[in-house]
């Protein structure tokens, strides 16, 4: 089986899913993940190469960095399939399986061009998951999502082409920001990793998807970007600062956001910040921290999205202003959600604690005091939005008058498995540590560290109780919170529309003048081709322009 690219089974099966009777679809999907997961046993090395036009592309390689990501991606696929066992939406099932397969394939790519193919494959498959949200806002969000993901791919292709032209090398190697191609590739990864100001697509699209869709989305795209950054930009100082900003700023947005799945998307962004800081430091300890954090984060973030998905499935909304008091009707979901919340908040004995400690220790070891306390501060922020806000507003806050059913069994099972892993990894961190890229002897459970972390968390909870008691805690309000997607949803069209309208008028006037000249010179009235198609049709028109500009940049860069 060593010549079968991991993830390819899943993509092949997803294509044949329509001809499989509905009753067997989910079992077959699980089987395809199992078939793909056999690749985890292959060990390390280069397994599949492809000769094309005299060049060799590495389609399947495995090493100490691919293994933890491949493992967690397979695990996440299993959770997603069990969670969506009841899901009869064929398009969403196909897209989910192919998307997970593409992400797994991407992890095993050994050169930038194969990575690019998988990179675009994850974009093109995942957009159908957003589309399956099946509301008008989900559809327009999916279009924006596609445009941005494709832009990331185009930037990656430009970077890879330039790199090949300038250095003759296109293999995945360590890069830096001193040359143009490095910057292009950095930006491509930065979009998918939701860097500050490039993050709008994430909070825009994830909460628009179906209950099951969001769980799938939350696991793969951004962590694939983290993997790519860890592979190509370890030890890039800029990433420390970018990561620190990423941990801190989404925190404030999460406080005031009303849609709890959007709160989780801000929280996801904040978690990526911790991983990016780890990549920026670039020591063995910090890279281990990044990988460990990505691993446990996928599980508890999926768990939190699953619990909110269950609420959405049963109540029909995840708006904080319309929820509350569900603990009575959905006790299991409540408990699982709280386990996810305690894991992400990094309580001792939960998985977040054993992973985040590695990154904090790496910062401490490097003497980066400012960043250390920014992340310490952000940890209080994580507790605020994911640790308290999510469970509090969904399940407690105030009594609920109408009855609601507990989540279906398959959802509870998936949440149960995830919760079990959160606690299991928290109590026995050595299983996780043994699959990390570097062998590092590390003991997270020292008395100093436990007391320090508990003081931070418990006093932050005390602050919450204090704020609620004195009515200082912001009430849930139905609202839209502006985010960086505002720039392309409001500001750019605001500038672009008048510009294009002016251009349209100029072109139309020219056309009239030409017509008049033609009539005058020939004495006949005959029109040129009809120019009425020249109208501003956003957003596809804007996207075409944007991609054209990128293409021109490519041509200029090559020249």
């Amino acid at each position: 089986m060593t010549n079968m690219i991991p993830g390819l089974w899943m993509i092949l099966v997803s294509i044949f899913l329509p001809v499989i009777p509905q009753y067997f679809r989910q079992p077959v999907m699980l089987l395809s993940v199992a078939a793909s997961a056999l690749s985890l046993l292959n060990g390390f090395g280069v397994f599949v190469e492809w000769e094309i036009l005299g060049n060799t592309l590495i389609l399947y390689q495995a090493d100490n960095l691919t293994l933890p990501f491949a493992l967690i991606f397979h695990l996440a696929s299993v959770l997603v399939i069990i969670y969506g066992w009841h899901n009869k939406n064929l398009m969403e099932n196909m897209a989910t399986l192919a998307y997970a397969g593409a992400a797994i394939g991407a992890v095993h790519a050994g050169d930038f061009f194969s990575l690019f193919i998988w990179w675009e494959a994850t974009a093109l498959t995942s957009v159908f998951i957003v589309l399956a949200g099946n509301t008008p806002s989900a559809r327009s969000s999916a279009m924006r999502y596609l445009i941005i993901q494709v832009c990331s791919g185009v930037l990656l292709l430009i970077g890879a082409s330039l790199m090949t032209l300038q250095t003759g090398n296109y293999l995945l190697t360590k890069l830096d920001l001193s040359n143009t191609f490095g910057l292009f590739i950095f930006l491509a990864f930065g979009i998918k990793a939701a860097f500050p100001l490039l993050n709008g697509w994430l909070q825009d699209s994830y909460p628009e998807s179906s209950p099951t869709g969001t769980v799938a989305l939350s696991a793969f795209t951004t962590k694939l970007a983290i993997y790519a950054l860890a592979r190509t930009f370890p030890g890039t100082d800029t990433l420390i600062w970018i990561g620190a900003i990423m941990t801190a700023f989404p925190v404030f947005f999460a406080v005031i956001e009303n849609d709890l799945r959007r709160v989780l998307s801000f929280s996801l962004n904040n978690q990526l910040g911790f991983m990016v800081v780890g990549i920026g430091i670039g020591t063995e300890l910090s890279l281990n921290g990044t990988v460990a954090h990505a691993f446990v984060h996928i599980i508890y973030k999926a768990l939190l999205f699953m619990s909110m998905g269950a609420v959405l499935h049963r109540v029909g909304t995840t708006k904080a202003s319309e929820l509350g008091g569900l603990y009575k009707y959905m006790p299991f979901t409540t408990v699982f959600c709280i386990i996810g919340a305690m894991s992400i908040s990094a309580f001792p004995l939960f998985s977040g604690f054993v992973a985040k400690s590695l990154i904090m220790s790496a910062l401490g070891g490097q003497g980066l005091i400012l960043i250390y306390f920014v992340l310490f501060f952000a940890s209080a922020g994580v507790l605020e939005h994911s640790g308290i806000k999510i469970p509090y507003f969904a399940f407690f806050a105030h009594e609920r008058k109408t009855k609601v059913k507990e989540a279906p069994f398959n959802m509870l099972l998936a949440m149960g498995i995830a919760a079990f892993l959160c606690i299991g990894i928290g109590i026995f961190p050595n299983y996780l540590y043994s699959i990390l890229p570097y062998a590092v002897e590390y003991h997270p459970y020292t008395i100093d560290h436990i007391i320090s972390q508990l003081q931070l968390l418990v006093f932050a909870i005390l602050a919450f109780l204090f704020l609620v008691k004195f009515k200082l805690y912001p009430a849930e309000i139905k609202s839209t919170v502006l985010n960086s997607d505002w720039f392309y949803r409001r500001m750019l069209p605001g500038i672009g529309k008048p510009l294009f309208q002016t251009l349209q008028i100029v072109v139309n006037r020219l056309y009239l003048i030409l017509n008049a000249l033609f009539e005058f010179s020939t004495g006949r009235s005959k029109k040129f081709a009809n120019l009425s198609y020249f109208k501003v049709t956003t957003p596809s028109f804007a996207a075409t322009i944007l991609i054209a500009i990128l293409f021109v940049m490519l041509v200029l860069a090559v020249i």
Partner: protein, 76 residues
Amino acid sequence: MSQNNLKTLAKHFTRIIIIISILLVLIDFTFHRHAYFALEEIYGFPAFFGFVSFVFIVLVGKWLRKILMRKEDYYD
């Protein structure tokens, strides 16, 4: 009756958190906590930092609402 359930729950929860908080600060006096930076080793520093950070985040968030909050159908 049902209203009381949640209130009782909140009361118990508050009590437990206050007791744990007191214990956590008292423990700090029994031994010297080692940390990477001297700042964190100050008695009760993480506790103080956690409390202040939380209040800061919430109050800044409330203030941000004035700038960033729009009607629910803003983009429609």
